[in-house]
């Protein structure tokens, strides 16, 4: 596939063109960067490192209706995801895209999750390569990803200075290129090589790493190991590490009814670090303390998920390390697992 280029002057135009879809792009409020649906290209903030909240919420919304009902009536109306329309997520990082590819496996495991899958089908992911790893805590390369990784993406943009190099990776990506045909130009011939060099350079700048080999197999043997108590002692049991993790996908289901009797059954993000996540109606809690919950979190990502899907449910984006308020560091935990 021939590479294209999108000059920076034309980005606004391109975004305007894409606004005919549901366009999601990074935006800044105060000092926080989050992905948002944007209507005005000026809202997009492309000079960002990585977003605080991963763009997963546009495939797997924090709160989403499963079906609507009127109490007492037998008619249930499933949410029609198609109404949301075609979506373009513009400018997400390779790790976040790869995370979606990983989570796809779960949502199509035996039972297809119609909402998630439909939304994924309707979504085109336009990635933005990390010319510089945005955080000292990035470690995507340890998990098979890369700052220039393409897994899960439909299109990859690379910041070449004055312009973005555009590479279509899938049919969806090509289609999008067509949409943007009047903004795109052919890329200079040597850009492919240039980009490769940049990728290597960027990978070289990744500062943190972990050798994941053997971890999935080893984890179950460390069940009773003292390390869990130690690494979890400071944990607050909050939702930061899981809500901000691009691969975390747990949810709760609750019904909400209005006085009128109209209501919906909806699902919302839940976190395995919350205390009430596993409590039974009897009050018994199989994971009563933060130790068990931390152990489950790590095991889920690094042992159970690979057991079912042959892939570790972590992409090394470093968010949990950056934002954990008490500096619980997954790499330190994994180091201890390796050393144990």
């Amino acid at each position: 596939m021939a590479l294209k280029k999108l000059s920076k002057e034309k980005v606004g135009e391109a975004l305007a063109e894409l606004s005919k879809f549901r366009l999601i792009a990074p935006a800044k409020s105060d000092d926080v960067v989050v992905f948002k649906q944007i209507s005005d290209p000026a809202e997009a903030y492309l000079e960002y490192g990585n977003s605080t909240v991963p763009p997963k919420k546009f495939a797997f919304p924090q709160t989403e209706t499963l079906f609507r009902f009127v109490t007492g009536s037998p008619d249930l109306t499933a949410k029609n995801v198609e109404e949301e329309g075609t979506t373009v997520i513009f400018g997400l990082r390779p790790c976040d895209a790869r995370a979606m590819a990983i989570v796809d496996k779960l949502f199509s495991w035996d039972f297809d999750d119609p909402y998630y899958l439909k939304r994924r089908e309707l979504t085109t992911l336009v990635g933005m390569a990390c010319v510089e790893p945005p955080s000292v805590n990035c470690f995507c390369t340890s998990l098979g990803g890369s700052p220039f990784g393409t897994e899960g993406l439909d299109l990859l943009l690379t910041d070449m200075g004055d312009y973005y190099l555009v590479e279509a990776l899938t049919d969806k990506g090509e289609k999008l290129e067509e949409t943007l045909s009047s903004q795109l130009e052919d890329a200079p011939a040597d850009d492919e090589k240039k980009a490769k060099d940049m990728a290597a350079a960027s990978e070289g700048k990744i500062r943190r790493s972990i050798n994941t080999e053997g971890i999935p197999e080893k984890l179950p043997d460390l069940w009773e190991n003292g390390l869990w108590k130690k690494v979890s002692a400071a944990c607050l049991g909050c939702g930061i590490c899981t809500f901000l993790c691009p691969t975390c996908h747990c949810f709760d289901i609750q019904d909400e009814v209005e006085e009128s009797g109209e209501g919906r059954r909806c699902r919302m993000w839940d976190s395995c670090m919350f205390e009430e996540y596993t409590v039974h109606a009897s009050g018994h809690n199989p994971r009563p303390t933060r130790k068990e919950r931390t152990r489950n979190r790590i095991n889920h990502k690094y042992s159970y998920y690979p057991a079912h899907f042959d892939v570790i449910a972590c992409v090394g984006c470093g968010r949990c390390i950056n934002l954990c308020p008490v500096n619980i560091d997954i790499l330190e935990i994994l180091d201890q697992v390796v050393d144990a």
Binding site: F69, P114, F251, Q254, P286
Partner: protein
């Protein structure tokens, strides 16, 4: 494929209380509001369903009737919290919604020709009931059937009339117990694990299935081992909190096993491998 989150409406044909008290148990006999659902529906003993009322919520329950009982499904539900309280308000003529069948089932085909002993406590008899019913309806396929069941008091016994009927049939042997002495109680007094030792079923060519409160299960498992049952001869069901029932929402796992998909039926051999199973 059907949207796995959308439940079917069922109508209550009959509903009655099995046991009184704060944590009372009510049994519902239901049929699909849309008769056509029966054509695609098939479940096996051990399967579960998400039961709920739109506007209240959903909870997982085992289907306590055997597929050999035609034209209805049964659920026996203990009042425990929000959903179950709302369900308990329903009566014959009302309806609720179910999603299923979910989960795995007891490997009854593999058990053909074997002697079966079921060991239940309290509401834990609910998943055992379809096993018993299945065997009685396919009596020739199986060896001896022995039932051990106990509850706190005679009042708390589920399926009383059925036990009476079974007890007087020559289908199988039936051993009942209560925890504390009561007047005119003709059967055993004491905890189920003790009753198990008293009955002492033989392990040869046998399968033991047990369900009940966690403490009971623990002792039953120990005692079965004492009686010579090997872990792969013993089956139980787990009940972990769950929301989706289809392996997505995350919380019901014990180790890498998802109770909603890999369970709720597990052999003791399987569980022994998983440290979290006995947390």
């Amino acid at each position: 494929m059907k949207n796995p989150y959308i439940p079917y409406q069922v109508n209550i044909i009959d509903a009655w209380y099995e046991a009184p008290g704060d944590r009372c148990i009510k049994t519902f006999k239901v049929t699909f509001a849309d008769e056509k659902v029966w054509d695609t529906w098939s479940h096996k003993p051990g399967n579960c369903a998400m039961v709920g009322i739109p506007g209240v919520g959903e909870s997982m329950f085992c289907i306590s009737s055997s597929p050999t009982e035609k034209g209805y499904l049964r659920f026996s539900i203990m009042k425990a919290g929000k959903n179950t309280s709302a369900l308990h308000e329903l009566e014959a003529g009302d309806s609720f919604f179910i999603r299923g069948p979910l989960g795995n089932n007891f490997p009854l085909d593999e058990w053909k020709g074997k002697n079966i002993v079921t060991i239940g406590g309290g509401i834990g008899q609910a998943p055992l009931r379809p096993v018993i019913q299945w065997i009685r309806d396919n009596r020739a396929d199986y060896g001896e059937l022995e039932l051990i069941y106990g509850a706190r008091t005679s009042q708390d016994h589920c399926f009383k009339t059925e036990f009476e009927e079974i007890g007087s049939s020559d289908d199988c042997e039936c051993h009942l117990s209560i925890d504390v002495e009561e007047e005119e109680w003709p059967h055993f007094v004491g905890f189920v694990p003790s009753l198990l030792m008293e009955v002492a079923p033989k392990p040869d060519n046998a399968i033991a299935v047990t369900c009940g409160p966690p403490v009971m299960i623990n002792f039953v498992l120990q005692n079965l081992e004492k009686l010579g049952f090997t872990p792969d001869q013993v089956y139980t069901t787990l009940e972990n909190r769950m929301k989706c029932g289809i392996g997505k929402c995350g919380r019901c796992n014990v180790g890498h096993l998802y109770v909603c998909k890999d369970g709720p039926v597990f052999s003791y051999a399987q569980l022994k491998e998983i440290p979290e199973a006995f947390a």
